[in-house]
């Protein structure tokens, strides 16, 4: 029992850590009141998903996906998740930029940064 658990942990600890990071981000996204904290949670959530993707691209003993002198016969890591994540990171920063500008605009209009106070201020207007 203990040995099988140890085996399972040693071969899959990367996925477990990605899931723990994802849960931290999800908790911040649901429970935190401050809007900037929510964006920080969104960033952590995103990077956890990226970590999960890069983890299943890894091949033991493989090199980075740039051709060496051996050409196609050397062992490389899987390049396709790298491409997907490369585009996802840049989309993520544009999402962050739009969200932050919305927060700045909300603060200019209502003067609050908390979710509950914002709902009160919107209802009062």
């Amino acid at each position: 029992m203990i040995e099988s658990f140890y085996e399972l942990f040693l071969s899959r600890y990367n996925y477990w850590m990605a899931i723990i990071l994802m849960l931290i981000g999800l908790y911040a996204l649901i429970a935190k009141q401050n809007l900037v904290k929510k964006i920080i949670g969104l960033n952590i959530f995103q990077t956890a998903i990226f970590l999960f993707y890069i983890s299943f691209a890894e091949v033991r003993g493989g090199t980075a996906p740039i051709y060496t002198a051996e050409g196609v016969h050397a062992l490389y890591v899987n390049p396709l998740p790298h491409v997907l994540i490369l585009t996802a990171i840049v989309v993520g920063v544009s999402v962050t930029a739009v969200a932050l500008s919305l927060i700045v605009r909300i603060y200019e209009e209502y003067g609050v940064l908390d979710e509950d106070e914002l709902m009160l201020a919107v209802r009062k207007r």
Binding site: I66, I89, S101
Partner: protein, 143 residues
């Protein structure tokens, strides 16, 4: 901060090297780590250093919001233009082999991919600098 001579001198020395490194990253993308996204963002980082050292108004005097948006449009147009060039040469959209066959030049793939990366770099740099102008400035417009 505007009076600090150390910050201004060091950033005046550092900005050209950062920009040359960004161009190297864009051009070197076909044969090593790097590419359009990374190079564009490094180029935008040099603009951030200029904003910190010389102030927002001085940087905006060099290139204003309207000019930076036009640069972004030019970058996307380079990318899409190569795609439509392949359509003109009786291929599919962004099919580099069609351009290569029509022009008769061998090994054109690498050059076309470098051009595409340059377009991505210009567009990403311009969009990032525009976002930083708008969030870091206090809502004013230069022109």
């Amino acid at each position: 901060m505007m009076e600090n001579v150390v910050i201004r001198t060091v950033s005046r020395l550092a900005v050209p090297f950062i920009q040359i490194f960004a161009l190297y990253v864009i051009v070197h993308g076909a044969s090593g780590a790097g590419g359009g996204f990374q190079g564009g963002v490094v180029f935008a980082a040099s603009f951030i250093l200029m904003i910190i050292a010389f102030g927002m108004a001085n940087v905006r005097r060099r290139i204003d919001n309207r000019g930076i948006m036009w640069l972004s449009v030019i970058g996307i147009s380079i990318y899409a233009g190569i795609g439509f060039l392949a359509l003109l040469m009786a291929g599919n959209f962004l099919e580099y082999a069609a351009i290569e066959a029509a022009l008769g030049i061998p090994h054109l793939h690498g050059i076309l991919i470098d051009l595409v990366e340059a377009g991505i770099g210009i567009a990403v740099m311009a969009a990032m600098v525009s976002i930083i102008y708008d969030i870091a400035g206090n809502g004013e417009e230069s022109s």
